[in-house]
């Protein structure tokens, strides 16, 4: 099998030529799968569309890799260093089938880099609730019908995933405090690390929340609050709380991204090869339920082929759905209908307080505190809340840590200032900084209902740099999300008041989804007529094709989804390694 022509595009065991599994995407799900499979003695090829910004990722010396990431807002957020560049990979968006899809620079674009979006996330890793796995049933039992929605119970329950949650927390090094969130569901082990230092803005909003009668807590996050233990090559330092967290690659590897945890462990196993700057264009075969090969563009744009006994989609929910659509696979009627549908992004409601003091959001981990009172479940998360409150989501207590992007967001205010003949100009907005240094925000990650019309398909006219049809997103929320937003909006403003703010309001949200929580499109279920995958991510009707990213989730809950995504991928990969015995935990300590 030919290797990519650019030697710099390969890491790990370069001599490998045949693979037990080909994994498409090196993010949270793909790297978790690579870790499990290589731990079990299988050989894997990981294909990553983005560049590698962790030189030395396959170097076994302690202290490696040294990232190319820095406290540099211009590089990533403005110049799209390792983001999905809309000039390379455009997407289009329309709210409904009757509207014309317009190209947009950011349709929930995620990252294109080794380690995927975990490299830039601020690693907020709460679990879902017990009731999230049977939400369709719970809503029906409560008589709460949601017109037009397509809720579906998960094909596994919380009990089945619980050990894998523990594994995922251990592997990534989640810092948190068991029992701090009264709505969190049970856990069989403590967090691996105590909570990280709180930010001032987190303490400020937590105080407001307490005074309003809520139960704020230290937000669990996969960022080291202590030295991460384990094999020397996998030890990582404690976070120094540099402030460039959400949206930034970590310069010291204190962040437990997929790159420096699961993927690095896989690369050091001698059974993993990573080819980066390699963009998969289609899956080949499918007859007899087997995908025979994967075609991809190498770093020079030359088409190459790779094959393995198993093929694992982990390109992120939207791209995995698009990739199946780009391939000519013989799908049965049920999966063919559901493919790309029931997309879930969370509906964010963003409460804002403008304070007289500076809240210095440039220090700390972007978000260190939050609350689950608006999630809409009972204590322990085993059922819907008995008072019938809407299903909202966890609240992140945060602020602005990005002066450059925030400065740009004030440009519309300049026109308003000019129109009302205010003397306020750009300089005074930057210096007095009401929307950066003095802002506190509460982001509710509310559940959005699955709907068949909210979907990914191929745009009929727009094409990407590879001449492949662009991804077209059709998505809109309904009364379910609007009612929750309206119900919790005054409560968010009240928290700002109780925290001492001068102004409080709720930020109007844009129509184009930009929440970065990207789920659904290959949802799992028991029956092929309802779903695309089974409980282990295997596509119905296929022997060797799996999805192990957020695409498999039938419902999105109201919590940051990545830990759940990782737990599902660990479990699904363990099922490949040892079919029928996936309940056995790896159980060998942190990446030992």
């Amino acid at each position: 099998m030919p290797l990519p022509s650019a030697v710099a595009g390969v890491l790990g065991e370069t001599s490998l030529e045949r693979f037990d599994a080909v994994i498409i995407g090196s993010g949270a799900g793909g790297s978790a799968a690579a870790y499990v499979l290589t731990s079990a003695g299988l050989s894997v090829l990981v294909l990553e569309a983005g560049d590698n910004n962790f030189p030395g990722l396959d170097d076994p010396r302690p202290g490696m890799p040294v990232p190319r990431y820095a406290n540099d807002e211009l590089k990533g957020a403005i110049r799209l260093f390792d983001r999905q560049d809309p000039l390379v990979e455009p997407r289009t968006y329309r709210p409904s089938d009757s509207a014309t899809a317009e190209p947009d620079a950011d349709v929930n674009n995620l990252n294109r880099t080794v380690g995927g979006t975990t490299v830039h996330a601020d690693m907020k890793y709460p679990r879902f609730n017990v009731v999230d796995f049977r939400l369709a049933t719970a809503l029906a039992e409560a008589g709460r019908s949601v017109p037009g929605a397509s809720f579906l119970d998960w094909p596994l329950d919380y009990d089945e995933l619980e050990p894998w949650y523990g594994e995922a927390e251990t592997i990534t090094g989640v810092a948190g405090e068991a029992g701090a969130d009264p709505y969190a569901s049970y856990r069989s082990q403590p967090y691996p690390m105590p909570p990280s230092p709180e930010m001032y803005v987190g303490r400020l909003l937590s105080e407001g929340a307490r005074r309003a009668g809520y139960a704020p807590f230290n937000y669990p996050a996969a960022i080291n609050s202590r030295p991460y233990p384990g094999a020397p090559a996998l030890q990582r330092p404690p976070c120094v709380n540099c402030g460039f967290c959400s949206g930034f690659g970590c310069p010291t590897n204190a962040k437990g991204s997929a790159a420096v945890t699961t993927l690095r462990a896989a690369l050091l196993s001698g059974r993993c090869q990573l080819r980066f700057n390699c963009h998969v264009r289609r899956l080949v075969g499918g007859n007899g339920g087997r995908v025979s090969a994967v075609e991809y563009f190498d770093p020079d744009g030359v088409v190459r082929t790779a094959s393995g006994d198993h093929v694992i989609l982990a390109a992120s929910a939207m791209e995995s759905a698009r990739l199946v659509q780009l391939s000519d696979l013989p799908l049965a009627a049920g999966p063919a209908f559901h493919l790309g549908r029931h997309m879930l992004f969370h509906h964010q409601t963003i409460g804002v307080g403008i304070f007289r003091q500076r809240v210095h959001g440039e220090r700390g981990q972007s978000v260190t505190n939050g609350m689950s009172d608006f999630r809409g479940v009972n204590e322990g998360g085993t059922a819907l809340h008995p008072d019938g409150r809407p299903l909202g989501g966890i609240i992140e207590f945060g602020t602005s840590s990005e002066p450059l992007g925030n400065g740009k967001s004030q440009i519309p205010a300049l026109d308003i200032a000019a129109n009302i003949r205010s003397p306020i100009g750009l300089k005074q907005l930057m210096v007095e900084s009401p929307f950066h240094a003095h802002i506190a925000v509460m982001i509710m990650q509310a559940e959005d209902a699955p709907r068949p019309g909210n979907r990914v398909d191929l745009d009929p006219t727009v094409r990407d740099v590879f001449a492949l049809p662009a991804l077209r997103l059709t998505y809109q929320i309904g009364d379910f999300e609007r009612q929750a937003a309206m119900f919790y909006k005054p409560k968010l403003i009240e928290i700002a008041r109780r925290a001492g703010a001068q102004f409080g309001f709720v930020d109007p949200t844009s129509g184009v989804p930009r929440t970065r929580h990207v789920l659904g499109g290959l949802r799992m279920g028991i029956a092929p007529q309802d779903s695309v995958c089974d409980a282990f991510g295997r596509l119905h009707g296929f022997d060797n094709l799996y999805c192990m990213d957020g695409g498999v989730m039938p419902t999105g809950s109201g919590y940051n989804p990545t830990l759940t995504l990782i737990a599902l991928a660990l479990r699904a990969a363990a099922n490949i390694a040892d079919p029928g015995h996936a309940e056995r935990r790896l159980g060998s300590g942190p990446l030992s």
């Binding site: 540099c242 007095e432 001449a467 001492g500």
Partner: protein, 366 residues
């Protein structure tokens, strides 16, 4: 035995291991010093002066504190417009075959052999054609002085902050080398995208079916600047009889208001670049001697020191007393906004965005 934060030694090992991937632009070492001489890049001397004058009225120094001019926004713009692709794409201080390749690519040639004039060989004529296409004929007289800046600066650290001392949880006196000075190499796809950003969609056939390559505000930057600056001067001459840079500040404000309404995309481009050029890391050419960060009270990059530092002897964190993570700044007056800002916020937030102004704001804790 747990390891502390990355030590200087291990960082240097790592940097050495990765050094084959890095291209060190010789002239970018001047980052943070006074800006490049006017005109030594895509912008002519007159254009550079016009950018300085225009941006100086978007953020002025009338109040005695630094504005866009003092922060080096024109250097930032020059550094961006003169960056890859173009003359000196590989930042070696001259125009090389690699640069010619970039131009051939930009001209739509599938054959990146850099035979720009089609003579059948790569020679001095191709070099001249490259320089001409990028800088215009007047610059052929001498070697082009390079003032391009990295599209993507390196990492993980600048040399502005020390390593923390993990044994004490306090700053050490050990500083890293400045990795921001390294320009990261572009992948093929990054090269295509940035060719379009600087030279326009027509330069990149691969983007022909992507409408965003023609509609986004940050593509075709060189042509947008050349045309926008010409418009500014034309407006200025028509109304006041002189080029923009030679007008009085009041006249300049009049012309800027006209650009705001009649050449809006260019005006917005300027505003965006003023913000970028004032608040970027100094290695990109702006924020001269961190004047922009100081102006807004922003510390800039804080790695590898950070703010709250792990102390191995107590197995816990220590906050920096001068820059606390979890508490109000010790010197914060909690005095809120100026009267004019409060008036503006009442219109912007309360009248237009249905915000609530609370009766008794206070400063937690207290």
């Amino acid at each position: 035995m747990p390891l502390g934060p990355l030590s200087r030694r291990r960082f240097l090992q790592g940097a050495a291991a990765g050094s084959s991937l890095l291209v060190l632009p010789r002239l970018a070492r001047r980052a943070g010093a006074a800006g490049a001489p006017a005109g030594s890049g895509f912008l002519t001397a007159d254009e550079y002066r016009a950018v300085e004058a225009l941006t100086a009225r978007i953020v002025s120094s009338d109040d005695g504190t630094p504005g866009a001019r003092e922060c080096g926004v024109a250097d930032y713009v020059q550094g961006l417009l003169s960056a890859f692709p173009g003359a000196d794409a590989n930042a070696d201080g001259g125009v090389s075959a690699a640069d010619l390749t970039a131009v051939a690519l930009a001209a739509g040639s599938d054959d990146a052999a850099a035979d720009v004039d089609g003579s059948g060989r790569v020679d001095a004529a191709d070099r001249a054609a490259t320089v001409s296409s990028l800088f215009g004929a007047p610059r052929l007289a001498g070697p082009p002085a390079f003032s391009g800046r990295p599209i993507f600066a390196g990492g993980p650290f600048s040399d502005r902050n020390p390593f923390p001392d993990p044994a004490t949880g306090t700053p050490s006196d050990d500083f890293p080398a400045n990795a921001f000075l390294a320009a990261l190499p572009l992948t093929r796809l990054q090269r295509l995208a940035w060719t379009a950003r600087l030279l326009g969609a027509d330069a990149v056939p691969e983007l022909r079916d992507n409408p965003l390559a023609r509609t986004l505000g940050d593509v075709d930057l060189r042509a947008r600047y050349r045309a926008g600056l010409a418009d500014g001067d034309a407006f200025s001459r028509a109304q006041f009889g002189a080029d923009y840079a030679d007008l009085t500040p009041a006249q300049q404000d009049t012309i800027l208001a006209r650009l705001r309404s009649q050449r809006r995309p260019f005006y917005l481009l300027l505003v965006n670049h003023v913000i970028e050029g004032m608040l970027c890391a100094p290695e990109y050419g702006g924020n001269r001697q961190r004047s922009g960060w100081d102006l807004i009270g922003f510390d800039g990059d804080s790695q590898p020191l950070g703010y709250t530092i792990y102390d191995a002897t107590i197995d816990d964190y220590r906050e920096r007393p001068d820059k606390p993570n979890s508490t109000l700044d010790p010197d914060d007056p909690c005095s809120g906004f100026s009267d004019e800002m409060q008036r503006f916020l009442r219109v912007l937030l309360v009248q237009l965005a249905q915000a609530t102004e609370f009766d008794e704001p206070f400063c937690f804790p207290g």
